[in-house]
Amino acid sequence: MKAKKRVVTSRDGRPAGTKRRPTVRRLRSAFEPAPPPRARPPEPDAADRPPSPGGEGDESPVDLELDLGRGLRLASPLMAAAGCFGYGIELGPAVDLGRLGAIVTRSTTVRPRPGNRPPRAVEVAGGLVNAVGLQNLGTEVIESRHAALWAERNVPVVVSVAGGSVGEYVEVVRRLDGLPGIAGWELNLSCPNGARSGTLFALEVDAAAGLVAAVRRATELPIVAKVSPAMPDLRSMARALVDAGVDAIAAVNTLPVLVVRDGRDGPALGNGLGGLSGPALKPLALRVVHEIAQVVEVPVIGVGGVADVDDVLDFLAVGASAVQIGTALLADPLLASRLADDLASECRRRGVAGYRAFVGTALPSRRDAPSTRGVEYRP
C-alpha cells in the first residue's frame, strides 16, 4: 500500500526540519508564528515543573497565550464566534471580557444588508437553525465608528468578511486594512460565489484558494479561513487554503439544513434553508478538526457546539489550537471568558504549564483515513 510510505512514526518527537509532504514554496511572513501545537502528553511537561497542588485558590500563572501569526497574540485560545457576539460592542464597555482571546465580528459585507425575511431562527433538538442572511451594517460603519471603539478595548477584534465575489471580499479588506482596532480577518467562505453561479466558496477548493490569495495580497494582517462542514473531505481544501496564505483555519461554519414548519406546508425558516449550530454540530466539527489538524501546520480553530470546558478540551484533543464559542454565547454572553478561566484551572489541576499540553492528544499516531472512506465498513 502506498499510504504506508507517508506514515509519521512519532508525532511528539518529530524533528523540526522533516516534512510530511513536499510543500511548494510556502510564503510565510516575517513574524514566524510559534511552532504549531503538536501532540504532547501532559506528563513530561508536568515533570519539569514544581508540583502544583491545583487547589481552588491556586492562582499560579498558566500560559494560555496563542500566537496566530503576523503579530496577533491572543490572551487565551477562547474566542467569540462570528455572529454570536455582534460587533462586540452591543453589551457596552461595562462588560468585563476577562480572558476572552478575540472577538470575531458579525460577517461584514461592502454595503449594509438587511438580512433574510423572518422567521430567521428555529430551535431543534440539540441545536439552533438560523438563516439571518448576513444582516450587517456594512463596511462604512466599521470604518467610521466601530474600529475606533474596538481600538479602545483590550480584546483583539477579528473582522469576519463576507461577499458575493472575490472583489467584494477584497474591497472590505482594503477599506478596513490598517485601521487601529482591527487585528485580523476571518473569511466566511460559506457565501455564494457570483462568478460560479452561486456555488459556495467553501465547496470549491480552487475558488476558495483564489479568494484567499486575493485577500492575502490586500493585507498584512492574519487571515483565518472558516470552512464549511458541508464538504465531505476537507483535507485538500485545508492544504489549498494554507498554500494560498491563510494563517489559521476555523472549522466549522454552520451546516446547511432544513426544518419543516409546524403545519407541514413549507420550511420553517423564511429563507428555506438554514445553518445548524449548537451541540448537535459538535461531533461533526470534531471530525473536521481532527482531519484538518493532521494535514496542516497552521493553527486550527475549533468551532461547533462548545458550551463547557469539556467541549473545549475535546476540540484541543483533536488538534485545535483555539476554540470559538458560538451558539452558547447567545444564552450567556460571558461564557467565553469564563471558559478561559476554567481552562486555566484545568491546567493547574492537571499540573501543566500551559493549555498546549492538551492539544492533539487524541490525534492518531499515524495519519487516519479520510472520512470519505466510510465509517461503518473499512477494508
Binding site: 455572529g83 454570536c84 457576539f85 455582534g86 452591543e90 453589551l91 458579525r106 438587511p114 438580512g115 425575511r117 423572518p118 422567521p119 430567521r120 431562527a121 428555529v122 430551535e123 431543534v124 433538538a125 440539540g126 441545536g127 439552533l128 438560523n130 439571518v132 444582516q135 409546524d262 423564511g270 449548537g278 451541540p279 451558539t327 454565547l329 447567545l330 444564552a331 454572553p333
Partner: protein, 290 residues
C-alpha cells in the same frame, strides 16, 4: 429601557404548577423583582440549563401580582415546547431573566380596549387585561381556538371582562376565525391589541389599516402644531396607534446580538423582536413579508 424597570437576573422559586388546558401548564413563581417591575407585553427568558434547550426561551409574563410577589408563566402547546419545565416541582429554583422587551402602550384617553388573541398567545395579553381593569377601563377579549377543549378557561379571567370566543369547529361560540368577530367591536374600541400567529395578526393589521375609512372615524385628539409626528417606534407613536401586536419569534440571545428574531419594518429595515418588541404598532411592520 422604555419598559421602566431595570433588567435583573434573579432566582425565581416555583410555588405552584397546574395544568390549565390539555398540554398547557401555568407555573407560578415567586420573583419579587418581576412581579413589581414588569409591564404587560414584556417577557422573561428562561435559561437553557433549566429548559433543556440550546438558547434562552422567551415566555410572556402571563400575570404579575405585586402584593404576593408572584408571576405566572404559561408553558406548553408544542412538541418541542419547554417540556423539561413541566417536571419542575414546587420549591425548585431557576434563573428567570427579565423583564425584557417593550410593553404595550395604552393611550391614557382610551377607555374601551379590544384584545384579540388566538390560541396560546392568550398569555401575551392576559396581563394587559389586569392592567386595563386596574385603571378602570373596559375590556373586551376575543379569543380564537381550534375547538372547545383549547379555550382558555374563563375562571382564570376577571369577571369584568367581556369574553367572546370563536372556534374553528364551532364547538363553542362563533364558528370560524377570531378575526370574524372584530368588525362587531371596531367602532366601540378606542384601541386594539393583538397576539397570535402571523396570519391572524396580518388580518388584524389589514382591518386596522382600513378602519378609519370604513367607519368614518375622526382622528382622536387635538391637532399638533405643524403636524409634528412622534418618531416611528417610540412609545408615544405606539400609544397613538390603534392596533398594537405582540409577536412570537424564536429569540436567540435577547441582547440584540444574534438578529435571529428580526422582522422587517415598513421601511424595509429589520426590527429586533427582543429589543424593539415584542410589542409593535401594527403600522410599523411589513405584513406582506410572511
Amino acid at each position: 429601557m422604555p419598559g421602566g424597570a431595570a433588567v435583573e437576573t434573579g432566582n425565581a422559586e416555583l410555588v405552584d404548577a397546574r395544568r390549565i388546558l390539555p398540554g398547557e401548564w401555568q407555573l407560578t413563581f415567586h420573583a419579587g423583582h418581576l412581579a413589581t417591575g414588569a409591564r404587560a407585553g414584556q417577557h422573561v427568558h428562561l435559561d437553557p440549563r433549566d429548559t433543556g434547550g440550546v438558547v434562552r426561551r422567551p415566555l410572556p409574563i402571563n400575570t404579575a401580582d405585586a402584593t404576593t410577589g408572584t408571576i405566572t408563566l404559561v408553558l406548553g402547546g408544542g412538541t418541542r415546547g419547554p417540556d423539561a419545565l413541566t417536571r419542575l416541582r414546587a420549591g425548585d429554583r431557576l434563573d428567570v431573566h427579565g423583564p425584557l422587551g417593550r410593553p404595550f402602550e395604552v393611550d391614557p384617553r382610551s377607555h374601551h380596549l379590544l384584545l384579540v388573541a388566538e390560541g396560546r398567545a392568550m398569555s401575551r395579553l392576559r396581563m394587559l387585561v389586569d392592567e386595563a381593569l386596574a385603571t378602570g377601563r373596559q375590556v373586551t377579549l376575543l379569543l380564537g381556538a381550534e375547538s372547545a377543549r383549547d379555550v382558555y378557561p374563563s375562571s382564570l379571567l376577571p369577571d369584568e371582562v367581556e369574553y367572546v370566543v370563536a372556534t374553528r369547529d364551532g364547538s363553542v361560540g362563533h364558528r370560524g376565525a377570531v378575526t370574524d368577530l372584530v368588525p362587531g367591536y371596531e367602532a366601540w374600541a378606542d384601541q386594539a391589541f393583538g397576539a397570535g400567529p402571523w396570519s391572524t395578526l396580518a388580518a388584524l393589521a389589514r382591518l386596522a389599516a382600513t378602519r378609519r375609512t370604513r367607519l368614518g372615524v375622526a382622528k382622536l385628539g387635538r391637532k399638533r402644531g405643524g403636524g409634528r409626528a412622534d418618531p416611528v417606534g417610540s412609545p408615544l407613536a405606539r400609544r397613538k396607534a390603534f392596533l398594537q401586536v405582540a409577536l412570537d419569534q424564536t429569540i436567540g440571545c435577547a441582547t440584540a446580538v444574534c438578529l435571529g428574531c428580526a422582522v422587517i419594518g415598513t421601511n424595509g429595515a429589520p426590527l429586533r423582536v427582543c429589543r424593539d418588541g415584542p410589542v409593535f404598532a401594527a403600522d410599523e411592520l411589513d405584513w406582506d413579508l410572511l
